[in-house]
C-alpha cells in the first residue's frame, strides 16, 4: 500500500490504469468471430488468434477469410449497392450521422479495445484516434447530404474493396468507409490481421444502428484474404499499407479498370531551421516519431536540423527523451506503448542494428522494459549519412534519424532525397522561408511548425512511392465518385512501322520535308537513325523518326531541365497557350490540308484552337482551397503539377487528340514527353515551328514519335517520370499500369473518344494533371 508520506518524497505518478473489464467481458462473450457479411456475423471458420501485444495474451479468435468468404461479401455488397446509391443524399447522411453518434456513445469501449489489440496508449486512442473517427463520420454525413450539389452528375463507383493497416485500425476504417458510404458505394473491408477487433466492434455498431444489410461487410484474414479481395469483382481498391504490397496491388489490378488509391509508406522529413522555436520543435519530434511507437506512415522520421543549432537541439531532444514513459498502454501516464507484434519488433531491432553498423549512434531512452510484451525504447540516431540504410528505409518504430544541413537549399535537397513523398514538417519562425520550403518539398501533406495534424476536412495522401489519391476533404470524396465516362470510340489502326525504304512513292516537286523528334526545344534526329513511312490511303505521306528508349531518356532529361515552367504564373502559361493557338490559327489551312491528306478531318484544327483557349483560360483559374479544419489553422489545398509526365496519344484525331491531352497538362505546369499518334505523327511534328514561335520554353513539350506502346512502356518504367496518361489499346493500358508499379507513378488510362465532343475537355483533365498538397499553417502570437 502506497503511503502519501512516501509519495511526497518521491513525487512519482503512480499507476493510473484505464479499466478494461467491459471490453474483456465482451471479448469473452464473443470468443470466436466470423465475418460480418450482409448484416450478420457468420459462423467462425478456420480461425487465428489475435493477441494483446503489451502482454502477449490471446484476446480472441477471428476467422481467416477464404476466397469464398470474400466472394460472398462482395456479392452481398453488390446486391446492396443499387438501393444504397439510390437513397437520397439526405438518407445516407442520416445513416452516417447515426454511425457517428453511436461511435461517440461507445468511445471509451472502442478506445480500450484498440489499446488491447494494437498496443498503442490509451491517451492516443482516447484523445486522438476515436475523436478523429467520430469527426470523420460526421464530416462525411455532410458530404452525403450535399453530394448532388457539390458533385453534380457524379456517380458512386459501386463496390469498394478496402484493405487497412494495423497502425490506426479504427481510424483507417473510418477514412475508408465514411467517404465510400457517403458517395453511395458499398464496401467490403479487410482489417489488418494483427488488429481486427475494432473493425468487428464497428460491425456490431452497424448492426446496432440497423444499417441496411450488405452496405458494410467486414472480412478478416491475412494478406491472402487481402489478395482475394483485390482479385474479386470490385470496382475500386483502396489500400493503406506498405509500399511493397501497394506495388503488388498496382500490378494485380492493372488493366482491370478497378479504380485504385494507395496510401503507402514514408520517410518524412522533419526540418528544423536555426530560427525555429527549438523547444516547440522538440515537442514536435515527440508528436512525430514518438507517437504511436513510431508506427505512423507519415511520421517525421528524418529529422533534418540546421548545423547552427544542432548541438543545442540534440541536447534538448535528449533531455526530452528521458521524460518519456514506456509501459502498460492502458495506463494514462504512458507515452510509449507496445509495438504491434513481435515480427515488427524484430524488424525494428534489425534496422536499428544495421544503422549502428553503418556508423550511426543510437541515443535511446533508458526505460525499464516490461518483462513481457513487445516493447522498444524510443530514441533517435545521430550521425546518419544519406547512404545509411536507416536514412532511406522506413523503420516504422520509435526511432528517428538526425542529419544536419547547412543551407536552405541543402535542407530541401535532403528532404527530397527519398523515394517517398507522404508528409513533411517544417519548423521556422520565418513564414516566407517556411512556405518556400513547403512549396519545394515533394509531399502530399506539409505541416508548418506542427506535425501529425489530421482532420476529416483536409486531404491526406502521398506523392511518389507513398502512393496516390487523397483521403479526407473534397479531394477524398472525389476518389469515391466517377463522372459518367464519355462514349468510347474504337481506336484507329496504329499503322505499320516499316524502317526500310518504300520505293515507288515519289515526292512532289517541292523540297523534301524532314520530321524529327522534338526534345528540349530543338529538333533532334532519332538515336537509332531509323525512320518509318507514314502512309494513308495507300500513299506515303512522309517519313517520321522511329524513336527509341534513348530518345525517351533524353526527352525526360530535357523535361526535368525545364523546371521553371512549373513555377511560372498561371497567367504566363496562359499567354503561351494563347500564343500557340494564335500561331496555329495563322497556319490553320496548312494543318487542315495535312490532316485531309491523311484522311482526317480539317475541323480538328479549329477544335484544337478552341481547346488551347479553354486551357489557357483555366491556367490561372483551376486553383486550390482553404479547408475548414481546426481553429487558428490555415489548411491550404494546393493543386501542384506532377512535374514530368508522359502522354501517349490516341491514333484517332492525330492533332486534336494530342492537343486535348498536352494542353491541360502544360496549363497546370507539367512538362511532358508526348508520343503522338503512331499512325499520323506528322500532324504533330508540324507543330514544332508553332511552338518555337510561341515562346514555349524548350523542354516543356517533348515529342518522340514511333512505336507508341513500346515508347509508353519505357516511360512507364522510367523512375523519374511522375505520371503517365495513356490513350490506346486495352493491352497497352494494362501494360502501362503494370509497368508503372516500379515507382508507383500515377496513371490515367483514357478510352479513345469523340475528340470533338464534350467528353474531350474539362476539369477532369486538370484534376488528373495535378495532385493536391495540403499545407497546414497554425497561427497565433
Amino acid at each position: 500500500m502506497a503511503l502519501v508520506k512516501d509519495i511526497l518524497e518521491s513525487m512519482e505518478y503512480g499507476p493510473a490504469p484505464e479499466a478494461a473489464g467491459e471490453v474483456l467481458a465482451w471479448l469473452k462473450a464473443r470468443g470466436r468471430f466470423g465475418h460480418f457479411i450482409n448484416g450478420v456475423f457468420g459462423k467462425p471458420g478456420k480461425t487465428f488468434i489475435t493477441h494483446n501485444p503489451a502482454t502477449g495474451d490471446p484476446l480472441a479468435e477471428v476467422t481467416q477469410g477464404s476466397g469464398a468468404d470474400v466472394a460472398a461479401a462482395v456479392a452481398a455488397a453488390r446486391a446492396a449497392q443499387p438501393a444504397w446509391a439510390a437513397l437520397a443524399g439526405h438518407e445516407r447522411a442520416r445513416w452516417l450521422y447515426a454511425l457517428a453518434r453511436h461511435i461517440q456513445k461507445r468511445e471509451r469501449f472502442l478506445a480500450v479495445l484498440e489499446v488491447l489489440d494494437n498496443g498503442k496508449s490509451i491517451r492516443e486512442t482516447r484523445d486522438i484516434d476515436v475523436p478523429l473517427v467520430v469527426r470523420h463520420f460526421y464530416h462525411h454525413a455532410g458530404w452525403a447530404e450535399m453530394l448532388a450539389d457539390e458533385f453534380p452528375g457524379a456517380e458512386a463507383l459501386g463496390v469498394c474493396g478496402q484493405i487497412i493497416p494495423w497502425n490506426f485500425p479504427l481510424l483507417m476504417l473510418a477514412w475508408k468507409i465514411a467517404p465510400a458510404l457517403a458517395a453511395g458505394n458499398t464496401v467490403v473491408l479487410k482489417p489488418a490481421e494483427y488488429t481486427p477487433l475494432t473493425a468487428l466492434a464497428f460491425a456490431e455498431i452497424c448492426a446496432e444502428v440497423g444499417l441496411p444489410e450488405g452496405v458494410v461487410n467486414i472480412v478478416t484474414g491475412d494478406g491472402e484474404t487481402g489478395a482475394a479481395l483485390v482479385a474479386a469483382q470490385v470496382d475500386k481498391i483502396a489500400f493503406t499499407g506498405s509500399t511493397e504490397v501497394g506495388r503488388l496491388i498496382r500490378r494485380a489490378t492493372a488493366g482491370t479498370s478497378k479504380k485504385l488509391t494507395l496510401e503507402l509508406g514514408g520517410k518524412s522529413p522533419f526540418v528544423v531551421f536555426a530560427d525555429a522555436d527549438l523547444d516547440g520543435a522538440v515537442e514536435g519530434v515527440v508528436d512525430a516519431i514518438w507517437f504511436n511507437q513510431g508506427q505512423v506512415c507519415c511520421a517525421g522520421s528524418r529529422v533534418l536540423v540546421a548545423e547552427a543549432v544542432e548541438d543545442d537541439f540534440v541536447a534538448r531532444l535528449t533531455a526530452r527523451l528521458a521524460k518519456l514513459r514506456l509501459g502498460d498502454p492502458l495506463d494514462k501516464c504512458t507515452d510509449i506503448g507496445a509495438i504491434v507484434h513481435p515480427v515488427q519488433l524484430a524488424r525494428i531491432r534489425d534496422l536499428v542494428a544495421q544503422g549502428e553498423a553503418a556508423g550511426a549512434r543510437l541515443v535511446q531512452a533508458e526505460c525499464q522494459l516490461p518483462a513481457k510484451g513487445s516493447f522498444f525504447a524510443p530514441g533517435f540516431m545521430t550521425g546518419v549519412h544519406p547512404a545509411n540504410p536507416v536514412a532511406t528505409e522506413e523503420i516504422f518504430g520509435p526511432v528517428a534519424t538526425l542529419t544536419s544541413f547547412r543551407t536552405l537549399d541543402e535542407a530541401v535537397e535532403l528532404a527530397n532525397n527519398t523515394r517517398y513523398g507522404l508528409a513533411a514538417s517544417i519548423w521556422s519562425e520565418n513564414i516566407s522561408l517556411a512556405l518556400d520550403v513547403a512549396s519545394r518539398i515533394k509531399a502530399g501533406v506539409v505541416w508548418v511548425n506542427s506535425t501529425n495534424l489530421f482532420d476529416a476536412g483536409a486531404g491526406f495522401g502521398g506523392m511518389r512511392e507513398s502512393g496516390f489519391g487523397r483521403e479526407g476533404g473534397r479531394e477524398g470524396m472525389g476518389a469515391y465518385l466517377r463522372q459518367p465516362e464519355p462514349k468510347a470510340a474504337s481506336e484507329a489502326a496504329a499503322g505499320a512501322l516499316n524502317g526500310a525504304p518504300v520505293p515507288g512513292a515519289p515526292e512532289g516537286p517541292g523540297i523534301d520535308r524532314t520530321a524529327k523528334l522534338y526534345i528540349g526545344g530543338a529538333q533532334k534526329r532519332p538515336d537509332g537513325g531509323y525512320s518509318y513511312a507514314v502512309a494513308a490511303g495507300g500513299k506515303t505521306l512522309g517519313l517520321a523518326p522511329l524513336g527509341n528508349r534513348k530518345d525517351i531518356r533524353n526527352a525526360v532529361e530535357a523535361a526535368h531541365k525545364a523546371s521553371g515552367w512549373g513555377k511560372a504564373t498561371g497567367h504566363n502559361r496562359a499567354q503561351v497557350l494563347y500564343y500557340i493557338a494564335e500561331n496555329l490559327a495563322a497556319r490553320a489551312s496548312e494543318f487542315a490540308a495535312r490532316l485531309a491528306e491523311a484522311g482526317g478531318e480539317g475541323a480538328e484544327v479549329e477544335a484544337a484552337i478552341r481547346r488551347l483557349f479553354y486551357y489557357a483560360a483555366q491556367a490561372d483559374k483551376f486553383d486550390g482551397a482553404v479547408h475548414s479544419t481546426k481553429s487558428a489553422h490555415v489548411t491550404l489545398a494546393m493543386p501542384e503539377p506532377w512535374g514530368v509526365m508522359g502522354i501517349a496519344c490516341p491514333n484517332a484525331a492525330p492533332l486534336l487528340g494530342f492537343v486535348s491531352l498536352v494542353a491541360p497538362a502544360i496549363a497546370m505546369g507539367n512538362r511532358v514527353i508526348a508520343i503522338p499518334a503512331q499512325s499520323m505523327p506528322l500532324a504533330v511534328t508540324d507543330l514544332y515551328s508553332v511552338f518555337d514561335t510561341s515562346d514555349l520554353p524548350g523542354g516543356v513539350v517533348n515529342i518522340v514519335t514511333g512505336n507508341r506502346d513500346e515508347l509508353a512502356k519505357t516511360l512507364a518504367q522510367h523512375d523519374d517520370v511522375a505520371a503517365l496518361w495513356y490513350c490506346g489499346s486495352r493491352e497497352g493500358a494494362a501494360m502501362v499500369e503494370t509497368e508503372s508499379a516500379g515507382n508507383l507513378k500515377a496513371t490515367w488510362v483514357l478510352a479513345n473518344r469523340d475528340w470533338q465532343g464534350q467528353g474531350a475537355q474539362g476539369r477532369g483533365f486538370l484534376e488528373h494533371a495535378t495532385q493536391i498538397k495540403n499545407i497546414w499553417v497554425p497561427y497565433g502570437e
Binding site: 502506497a2 503511503l3 513525487m11 525555429a276 522555436d277 506542427s450
Partner: protein, 322 residues
C-alpha cells in the same frame, strides 16, 4: 526553514551581466506552446494516493495570499491561521501525515507585521508584494523604499513587479538595472519578479522579460499579480519554465517559478505541478523552487482530500475559512 529547504539547498542566483543574446533570438511559437500545454493534461494522470500526495504537495508549495484593499490585521491573522493548519485534523490523520503548512503567506507591506506576529514560531515565511504593486507605476526611489520597508517589517520574501513599459518598449538595459536595484534592496530576502504576463501579451516578450529578470538576480520568476486581465496560464508558465531551464543550463543557477492568479481548483494544482515535473523535474516540486500563488485553490484541495479520506463528497462549509 523547512527540512526540505535544508536538504535541497543550492547556491542563490547572483545574477549575471545583461546578456541580450541569450534571449533576443529565441523564438517562441505560440500554437506549439499551446499544443504542448494542452496535451500535458492528457499525458499524465494522478489517481488515489498519488493524487492525494500531489495535492498535499501543492499546499506545501502554496503562497496563501490576500491582496485586497480591505485587508485588515485580523483578516491577515485568519489567513495565517489557515496557513498553519491548512487541513482539518481528520483529513491530515486520514492521509497519515503529522503536519502540513503552506509555503508562505503573501500580503501587502503594511500587513507584513501582523502576518509575522500571527505566524511566529510556525516557520512559515511572510512574502510581501512591493514596488508599487500591482502596476509598478511609482518612482523607482519609492519602489525601492517600499522593499526596504517590507524587509524591515519582517518579510523574508519580496514579490516585486517589473515595469511593463520597459519590457513592451524593449528597453532591456533599463529593466535590468531596475530589477538589479530591487534585488539589492531585497538584501537577504528572496526576490520574486512578477512579470505581469497578461500585459506583456506575447510569449516572446514573456521569455525575454524572464531572462532579463534572472540575469538581474531574481530568485523566482512569477507570472502575474492576480490583478491583470489574464493571469497565470499554462502556455505562459511553459515558456517561463523553459526560460529558467535555459538560464540554469547557462549559469548553473536554479531559479524558482511561481504562477499566480486565476488558478482556483485542485485540478489546476495538479496541472501546474505536472508541468513542473515534465519540463523541469523533481526539484521544482519543492517550495524552494515552486510556489503557487493562490487563495481559493486551498479550499478546493481540502474538499478533494476530504473525499479521498472519507469517500464522501465534501462541503466547504465544514472546513475552516482561509
Amino acid at each position: 526553514m523547512s527540512s526540505d529547504a535544508k536538504t535541497h539547498a543550492f547556491a542563490r542566483n547572483t545574477g549575471v551581466p545583461l546578456a541580450p543574446d541569450w534571449f533576443e533570438k529565441v523564438a517562441v511559437n505560440t500554437p506549439a506552446a499551446v499544443r504542448r500545454s494542452e496535451s500535458l493534461a492528457g499525458r499524465r494522470s494522478l489517481k488515489k494516493e498519488w493524487q492525494a500526495a500531489w495535492l498535499v504537495n501543492a499546499i506545501r508549495c502554496m503562497d496563501l495570499t490576500t491582496l485586497a484593499g480591505d485587508d485588515t490585521p485580523d483578516r491577515v491573522a485568519r489567513l495565517c491561521a489557515k496557513a498553519r493548519r491548512p487541513l482539518a485534523d481528520h483529513i491530515l490523520t486520514g492521509l497519515g501525515l503529522d503536519s502540513a503548512r503552506t509555503g508562505a503567506v503573501c500580503v501587502y507591506p503594511t500587513m507584513v507585521a501582523p502576518a509575522v506576529r500571527a505566524l511566529a514560531g510556525s516557520g512559515i515565511p511572510v512574502a510581501s508584494v512591493a514596488t508599487g504593486f500591482p502596476s509598478g507605476l511609482m518612482p523607482l526611489k519609492l519602489r525601492l523604499a517600499e522593499i526596504r520597508y517590507a524587509v524591515d517589517e519582517g518579510a523574508s520574501e519580496i514579490d516585486i513587479v517589473i515595469s511593463r513599459a520597459l519590457a513592451l518598449r524593449g528597453e532591456w538595459s533599463a529593466l535590468y538595472d531596475e530589477i538589479a536595484a530591487m534585488r539589492e534592496a531585497s538584501g537577504g530576502a528572496h526576490m520574486k519578479a512578477i512579470l505581469a504576463t497578461g500585459e506583456l501579451r506575447t510569449l516572446r516578450t514573456v521569455y525575454k522579460a524572464s531572462m532579463v529578470a534572472m540575469q538581474a538576480g531574481a530568485d523566482f520568476i512569477k507570472t502575474s499579480t492576480g490583478k491583470e486581465g489574464v493571469n497565470a496560464t499554462l502556455p505562459v508558465s511553459l515558456v517561463m519554465a523553459r526560460a529558467l531551464r535555459d538560464y540554469g543550463a547557462k549559469t548553473g543557477f536554479k531559479i524558482g517559478f511561481k504562477p499566480a492568479g486565476g488558478m482556483k481548483t485542485a485540478k489546476d494544482a495538479l496541472a501546474w505541478q505536472v508541468l513542473m515535473m515534465e519540463e523541469l523535474g523533481r526539484d521544482w516540486l519543492r517550495p524552494n523552487l515552486f510556489r503557487l500563488g493562490a487563495s481559493s485553490m486551498l479550499g478546493d484541495i481540502e474538499r478533494q482530500l476530504e473525499h479521498f479520506v472519507t469517500g464522501r463528497y465534501a462541503s466547504s462549509s465544514r472546513h475552516a475559512l482561509a
